[in-house]
């Protein structure tokens, strides 16, 4: 299971990184989202991988999973979700303001230089 988990996490992170380095806003946003998924999976595994373990102490249970990474992932998911929503809106705003979805659109700069 460890090998599968590590492969999936690594593949997600690599795809996310590749997309985040693209030149248009939409792939960048998708890339950052994939990256945050990979990070969430990675955080999940930091307490060690266990199946069927209880997170909260119960009578008669001897098999426990580390509850802290689960709580951390929950926080990270909430924050990541808010950030994705924000960056989507922002990307649309950039598209509207500039008339192009290039991350590094230089047309605006040139126009300003000529004016001055």
């Amino acid at each position: 299971m460890e090998a599968l988990f590590a492969t999936v996490t690594g593949f997600l992170a690599a795809s996310g990184l590749y997309l985040a380095l693209r030149g248009r806003t939409f792939p960048v946003v998708v890339g950052l989202t994939l990256l945050s998924y990979a990070v969430n999976l990675f955080l999940f595994s930091t307490g060690g991988l266990t199946t069927d373990g209880a997170a909260v102490i119960q009578d008669g249970k001897t098999h426990y999973a580390d509850p802290l990474p689960q709580a951390l992932v929950l926080t990270a998911i909430v924050i990541g979700f808010a950030m994705t929503a924000f960056s989507v809106i922002l990307a649309m705003r950039v598209r509207g303001d500039q008339g192009s979805d290039q991350v590094n659109d230089q047309r605006g700069d040139d126009a300003r230089e000529e004016k001055s």
Partner: protein, 503 residues
């Protein structure tokens, strides 16, 4: 009073929430609430500084859960000093914003308070994951504040800033995961203890995590290979926001200072002080590049942004020297540079406002409406930011130069002094262009409003005050540095079961 520690977080939180109650309300009550709350924050933070000045490290355990299991807020001299610095800077920029900049977009005051909450929280927390959470709080507020008022330039600079910081947050979480996976704790004091006793087989993993953390903090503090977002973002942000952002890079410097003295400090066994040699070269390169950038800037605001870059390099050089004298010098320099560069952002905006079409660009244009007042402010700001005597910049730099050992002197002295020279030339050139090569001023042009003047006077006036009271202030920073370099006292105060604290 034990609840005092959490007030710098709760007060801005509740003020920020109060601002949301009636979104279409008129500006005046919000300005009053914001200013009163920030002034109260100054009072609280001064009380915190007084409380911490006896050298006692106290903590506040949220929900009564004792460390290392519960989440704690820690008050020592360094965090009290940083909270105090934040609140003074915030008061100055908020006063300036109340002259009309806050009306250009919605919810300025609410976001401003939430940003303060994030910054104060980052300074006070004693838990690694909470450091991440407070970083996110301050970043989310800063994203919106950066784009306050809108405009093409701002949205594009904003998108770069957001994308970069999202990637930074992802790396922060990976680093946290690695640190938690190897040490099994998130409490900073506890982590420091466990790093020393770690199984040598896991040392490589831990080191990778620690380096990744350095990358994240380096991104926040804008150290050399990671600074490219800063000049554009700061130059396009609205003036009061840019002034408040002067503390944001210092949050990164604070985090480096805290983590790499407490967790990976002298007591960390094999990993003791392993980042300092790396920091030394990167910081020197940042200073050199900042000097070149200052000379190349064509806009007053970009120029101030590059001056911030020089100051970040200077601060990190102090961190990398890792001695009481250098840390004390850097803390004094941090007080000076944060307030003065905040003030210079406000000043650049005031100048741009009065020059009409020429704006903040460094070209001959219309004169400013109040040449005497703004000229004097520019003179004071320029002298102190490049480090000419008699103001506080000179004292800070002299203390740092003095702290260097003979082997470090050739590098530090030459680069720091050359970058100061570059700053001097650049500030002199832009000052003479803006004030002396100017055409006739428009007598009907806009003038400084009283609250703008108050904000400017508070931030730039801090420099002579810092110089006059340099004695007591350096005494405090010296004690803070000594406290910082003694991580065992910190660990003792947090983890020893006998010590009180909490609620």
């Amino acid at each position: 009073m034990q609840h005092l520690i959490i007030l710098p977080i709760l007060l801005p939180l509740f003020t920020g929430l109060a601002m949301l109650i009636k979104r279409d309300a008129t500006m005046q009550p919000r300005r009053t609430i914001g200013l009163v709350s920030t002034a109260l924050l100054v009072v609280i933070s001064v009380a915190l500084v007084v409380e911490s000045s006896d050298g006692q490290i106290s903590y506040y355990a949220l929900g009564g859960w004792q460390p290392p299991f519960g989440i704690i807020l820690v008050l020592d001299r360094l965090s009290a000093l940083m909270v105090c610095l934040t609140s003074v800077l915030a008061l100055g920029s908020l006063a300036y914003a109340c002259a009309g900049d806050d009306k250009k977009g919605s919810n300025f005051h609410g976001l401003f308070q939430l940003q303060l909450m994030g910054i104060n929280g980052a300074f006070l927390t004693g838990d690694m994951f909470n450091l991440f959470v407070f970083f996110e709080v301050l970043l989310i507020a800063s994203y919106s504040l950066l784009m306050h008022g809108g405009g093409k330039d701002r949205t594009q600079a904003g998108f770069h800033y957001v994308a970069l910081n999202l990637a930074g947050s992802a790396m922060f979480l990976i680093a946290l995961g690695v640190l938690y996976g190897t040490t099994g704790t998130l409490n900073m004091a506890d982590m420091g203890q466990r790093v020393a006793q770690l199984d040598p087989e896991r040392l490589g993993l831990l080191k990778a995590g620690a380096f990744l953390l350095l990358v994240v903090f380096g991104l926040k503090s804008a150290i050399l290979p990671l600074y490219f977002w800063l000049p554009r973002a700061y130059a396009s942000a609205p003036a009061p926001v840019a002034a408040l952002f002067a503390i944001m890079t210092k949050v990164g410097v604070y985090a480096i200072l805290r983590v790499y003295t407490l967790i990976f400090g002298d007591s960390a066994g094999d990993l003791a002080n392993f980042v300092q040699p790396w920091l030394w070269w990167f910081a020197l390169a940042t200073i050199a590049l900042g000097g070149i950038g200052v000379l190349s800037a064509r806009d007053l605001r970009t120029q101030v942004a590059y001056l911030i870059l020089i100051s970040v390099g200077t601060l990190l050089v102090g961190v990398s020297m890792d001695r009481v004298a250098s840390l004390s010098a850097l803390l004094y320099y941090m007080l000076h540079t944060t307030l003065v560069s905040g003030g210079l952002f406000l000043l650049a905006d005031a100048i741009a406002d009065q020059r009409g079409k020429a704006g903040a660009r460094i070209v001959p244009g219309r004169g400013v409406t109040q040449p005497a007042l703004l000229g004097l402010a520019y003179f004071v700001g320029a002298i102190t930011v490049v480090g000419l005597p008699p103001l506080s910049g000179a004292i800070g730099k002299a203390l740092l130069l003095d702290a260097a050992q003979p082997s470090e002197q050739p590098w530090l002295w030459s680069l720091l002094l050359l970058s100061s020279l570059a700053g001097l030339v650049a500030m002199g050139r832009s000052g003479s262009t803006v004030f002396w090569k100017a055409g006739k001023a428009d007598p009907e042009g806009s003038r400084l409003k009283p609250s703008m003047l108050a904000g400017l006077a508070l931030l730039l006036g801090a420099s002579p005050l810092l110089a006059i009271f340099a004695g007591p202030i350096t005494e405090f920073t010296q004690a803070s540095a000594a406290q910082l370099l003694d991580p065992s006292a910190y660990t003792q105060a947090i983890l020893a079961p006998t010590s009180g604290g909490g609620s």
